[in-house]
Point group: C2
Chain length 108, copies 2
Amino acid sequence: MTIAMTPSPPYYAAIFSAQRNDGDHGYDEMAARMVELAATMPGYLGIESARDEKGFGITVSYWESEEAIANWKRNVEHLQAQRRGRGEWYKEYNVRVAKVERAYELKK
Amino acid sequence: MTIAMTPSPPYYAAIFSAQRNDGDHGYDEMAARMVELAATMPGYLGIESARDEKGFGITVSYWESEEAIANWKRNVEHLQAQRRGRGEWYKEYNVRVAKVERAYELKK
């Protein structure tokens, strides 16, 4: 992935940190679909994701408001993915919803 | 890495997303030292980090307050690392400082 092009703060971030189980079990396909689907949701600003070789990953999605995050969490297709995530894909995870107050960047 | 054990919100997160250059150039050693050093700073709560095979990584450090983050940013050894980061290690990066307002988790 690459760095998300987000507007000036304030905006919101959903920080999803997770340890995967072994094996794919349809995960890659669903993850790609969720990235695609999130981008169609109201208030979506961008997404960043990285996973290491041991299956520990961080995905941060950026949103205009808390309501936009709550709306994404309730999306029917996303709810199905969340259910499979709990049951099949993740050993543990943490979701943190945060208000981005300031930001700075380096570009070359 | 693993999921950081953080207290109940509110607390702060520094979300660091970066694209590395090719080659190590002393990066791994310095990154390990910064993780070690951050943990000694006042107001430190935890850190999570993941990097993919293309050198795109996300590191989220958690702190009790904005002041704790500002204090960490000013640490002399960290300032040296930041300078080398800009000059040698990173093609681009983004730092976002955010207030974590709510959190939930799955543990098995």
